[in-house]
Symmetry: C2
Subunit: 302 residues, 2 copies
């Protein structure tokens, strides 16, 4: 024995299960049923009973790694999920990807009409910010302001919305790997990185820990997209819960189209190793959930 | 002489002119041109060189009445205008009002396509919150958090987005005056009231002043909509800068359809009197700009 601390084995299913229960209950309470004229129903349909909730789990895992404010972390977890959910609602609309299936169910505009889908997405984005700035004093104003700042940047023109604009402009284009990375670092990467950093902002991590979490979040965000592109060609629609083969059909540039399948798979493993290395070299106390989530992102089959 | 303080006469054009210059310059700086893939261009087109900027002027006037933080007020003024602008972009889309003319120019989706219009609206909403939570310390965290909270509520399901859902559901319906008021208090009233209250939140008004500003904001918000409904039937498209007679064509319930033209005009004057009375009974130091703006709202011809 060298005296080194051996961490007990970690059960991601059990860790996630407890946290998902809290997130689902909170989302169900906060995504109001009584919004007028069917709007609440469309908002709830877009958010509840679906999705892997990867982003909320990242927020909670990062917050736990820095001993963050639990109430702030739960609100941040739900807020990033609302932004993700609204982006899917708008992205599925006929003027964008025109998709009819999402999480195995008809998309919001198919079920509620395009106008209601547009409004539900808009209202979900506003609600995300409302969650981050509660009137009670349980969350310090400085944390509220930081979370609003980070979410706005991750969701806006420099993040997710900007990435979608690049995506839109590049249908049918041939991209270099660098251009593809730039697009995805905004389109999906910004909100995944944002989830990690918002979790971190619920505590008061020092410079080295913060840098490690940022490196982890960047590598994980990119890995997520590489695996998404792989699954788009290797999985079927039932397993995915959404239309498979969509990117190829729409002639969108993907990691598989740029690197090929084998090199994409190897790249995903490299990114995972990078994410884990960032955590290993940090002085964060307990990074087991973060490590398990990164591994899950790369090993998932949907 | 009784010793009573006589306020010098007030020139709204001059007061507004100085403030609009600041607002336009700030918007032009903050609504980025370099957002990727044409997104910035669409966002700027949606926001710059157009509109009466009533909401920003209300924010600034309210903030001045409470000696608020000028930097916070300018950011809040621009943020409410971004929310207003995004709502117009989405509202004009084919799945909503399907309008091709706005402020005398082709609407955003006509000029940039529906997908880009959708994204530009989404990115403008995110940018509004980003403006309210700047990383520098010029604005106290408590003010940043309060502004985010108020804007999220005014824009979301309980405010503007909720009002639009009611509007959508009521095309072709006959509404009572109470139902019409409920719809408009959310659809346009919430953001106008929000503008006044966000301006107030830039300072530290006491209870009585805050109540007066709230009563003023509510009456003004409603008056704005009554006048809008009147102008929809009495003005032409060139004067309005948007399609006149639209509500009647789309069979939407309006104050004119519910109350008739004469009673609508009388109601607008009553609401103006109510707004002015609220200010008169307050202990706010200088309410001249607020009073002049309310009068302008009711007397405007576009």
């Amino acid at each position: 024995m060298t005296g080194q601390f051996v961490q007990p084995s970690f059960d991601l299913t059990s860790w996630s299960g407890e946290r998902l229960e809290r997130v689902e209950r909170a989302l169900s309470g906060w995504v109001v049923a009584d919004a007028p004229a069917g709007l609440g129903e469309a908002m709830r349909y877009a958010v509840l009973d679906g999705g892997k909730r990867l982003r909320p789990l990242l927020v909670l895992a990062a917050s736990e790694a820095v001993q963050g404010n639990a109430e702030a972390a739960l609100r941040a977890a739900c807020a990033v999920e609302l932004i993700h959910a609204y982006s899917l609602v708008h992205d599925d609309m006929p003027c964008m990807d025109n998709d009819v299936l999402r999480r195995g169910k008809p998309t919001v505009h198919v079920k509620f009409g395009q106008a209601q889908a547009l409004l539900a997405g808009d209202a979900l984005q506003a609600l995300a910010f409302e969650l981050l700035a509660p009137p009670d004093r349980a969350i310090p104003d400085s944390v509220q302001a930081a979370l609003c700042r980070m979410l706005a940047r991750a969701a806006g023109h420099a993040g997710m919305a900007g990435g979608q604009a690049i995506d839109l402009a590049n249908v049918g284009q041939v991209l270099t790997e660098a251009q593809l990375r730039e697009m995805h670092s905004r389109k999906t990467g910004a909100l995944l990185l944002g989830s990690v950093m918002m979790g971190a902002a619920c505590g008061q991590p020092q410079g080295r820990a913060l840098a490690a979490l940022e490196a982890y979040g960047r590598a994980l965000g990119l890995a997520f997209q590489v695996v998404d592109d792989i699954l788009d060609v290797t999985a079927d629609s039932v397993t995915l819960g959404k239309t498979a083969g969509k990117d190829a059909d729409q002639n969108k540039p993907t990691y598989v189209s740029v690197l090929g399948l084998d090199r994409s798979r190897a790249y995903a493993r490299e990114l995972l190793a990078e994410a884990l290395q960032a955590l290993a070299s940090s002085d964060l106390a307990d990074t087991r959930a973060l490590r398990a989530l990164a591994t899950m992102v790369v090993d998932r089959d949907n």
